[in-house]
Symmetry: C2
Subunit: 324 residues, 2 copies
């Protein structure tokens, strides 16, 4: 089986054709058409075996993680996903691996109505690069730069589970702890907050998805918006499973602050718009929690019981901290 | 230096902002806007060290090859390039390497007016994945599927140089042959035929860029157009440098047929449109040569002096034939 057979077998005619895809896989380029009065949101993410996942992780989990992490970037802009390109580098052609990878990939893509429009399959060390695209109303995307002094800071869902799941992946001794299996799955099978992002479009002043860790990602908002923030670590939402797994309340909070690859949204909302949050997010199935407030200055202060905390924590950075 | 410092130093504010880029590098997504009444052409290509180039090749050559090969897919559709996303996976942060890579990348991008709008930098085995986008008038792209029986088959430029250049890269014994240095450069520094592709938009019935080898790529046209072809190998254009390097006329023709990564265009033109070719291509600086004709049936026949030739040749396939 060569490159072209792989493309024919696994990547052609697997999905319903979107009407805005004029030409899909099989030519030099795909041809697509964007709706009028919309901007196109584009994001690219690479997952490399040994850096972002272990090479023998389930192919279905790798596929889900790759696409979910990329869709999460669209969610953070409030965009509606439309197209995705897949660059898949494989050490060899393993049909069992490919079949499982593709089934999971199309499951998630179909759920969000995203069509695979092209890509490249090459030989080399296992890695996956996706470029996803979606639509946002012109001049209305959720950028990182819109946070204002006084805005409240929120996150969707719970934080910390992904880092605990990574512990399970990397250290087999942790498998005996409570909920290790659930947390491992949570690490790979995050839900991109597409619906929440769309609902937040008219409400939030800034948003980011939590891929590097809450501290790092919130700092992106602060830097781009030229503001500071105070976060109350006692308010950080964590799952009961995480708290049982770690059996340490303070450590749970530290996990919530630094856990990367959560794919929850962190967003800011003005006092004026707070009231609209409930009805906007109620239909999305996304819980949300207020964790702090935007302030003047350019520092991020962590507080507990009204006193500053000074834990040693780093945002997740693939160059400073190799995962595996 | 971490991932974010790399992005700030090498990828921010390096180019003139296009007016259709509403938000560039630095947020969760880029935001762009396509002109009305155009389709967007999108192509993704991956280059992996050890498969598509040797890891210690000049960073400037790697950058050029990566971007040129991807722009070449736009050229084959007749598209006007606009935006590019870069996923760069590096084993370590080597500032000298990055500086040289980026200079060459922006040189070529600026030449074609393509803006880098985003991407991802990750740690892992060296590889580069680019997603380029461009515009074509709606319902007017040069697809692979439009070739008709009787159409003439053309190629731009000369063929075979890239394969000879690869010989030089892989076998140091060939360095003593004439023009080895020029051919090595030609392998890395191909010119994407953007202007020729645009000029061919109203004239050609089908087009493909020669990335896998003339035979393989012409077969893509034949398969998608459901036709056959006869190619006269005596007509294949080769450079004087190639002929001197190989010192064998028949071998030169075989190189022309199978050389991958040429990034010349192969295209078909009806008898009716032949006359328009000269004036359309004259201003592009691209020479072109008629090499055969589309026929009924579904076979590709190679002919020399009116007789069939039956050389053993394979199109270039990264899974069947590892380059290095």
């Amino acid at each position: 089986m060569n490159e072209f057979n792989v493309i024919d077998k696994y990547f052609i005619d697997r999905q319903t054709q979107r009407r805005d895809v004029l030409l899909s896989i099989g030519d030099d380029c795909a041809l697509v058409k964007a709706p009028e009065n919309t901007a196109i949101a584009i994001s690219t993410d690479t997952l490399v075996a040994g850096t972002h996942f272990i090479a023998d992780a389930k192919p279905a989990w790798i596929a889900h993680k790759a696409l979910a992490s990329n869709l999460s970037d669209l969610a953070a802009m409030g965009a509606t996903p439309s197209w995705v390109s897949l660059a898949l580098t494989l050490p060899k052609i393993d049909e069992h691996w490919l079949a499982e990878f593709c089934d999971a990939f199309y499951d998630l893509a179909d759920y969000y109505g995203v069509q695979l429009i092209g890509g490249d399959t090459t030989k080399g060390p296992l890695s996956i690069t996706l470029t996803v695209q979606g639509f946002v109303p012109e001049h209305r995307a959720l950028a990182r730069s819109g946070a204002k002094v006084g805005d409240w800071i929120y996150v969707t869902g719970n934080l910390g589970d992904s880092k605990a799941g990574l512990d399970v992946v990397l250290d087999s001794a942790t498998r005996s702890r409570p909920y290790s299996k659930e947390l491992e799955e949570r690490h790979y099978l995050a839900t991109p907050r597409i619906l929440a992002g769309q609902a937040l479009l008219p409400i939030a002043s800034a948003a980011v998805d939590i891929s590097d860790g809450l501290i790092s990602d919130l700092k992106h908002i602060l830097k781009r918006s030229n503001v500071g923030a105070r976060v109350d670590v006692d308010l950080l939402p964590t799952s009961p499973e995480l708290r049982e797994f770690l059996a340490d309340r303070q450590l749970s909070k530290q996990y919530a602050l630094s856990s990367g690859e959560e794919y929850e949204l962190c967003f800011t909302v003005s006092e004026e718009n707070r009231g609209a949050l409930d009805s906007a997010l109620a239909h999305c199935g996304a819980t949300y929690t207020r964790i702090g407030q935007i302030r003047s200055g350019n520092t991020l202060e962590l507080q507990s019981n009204g006193k500053p905390v000074d834990w040693q924590l780093e945002g997740f950075d693939h160059f400073e901290e190799q995962v595996v």
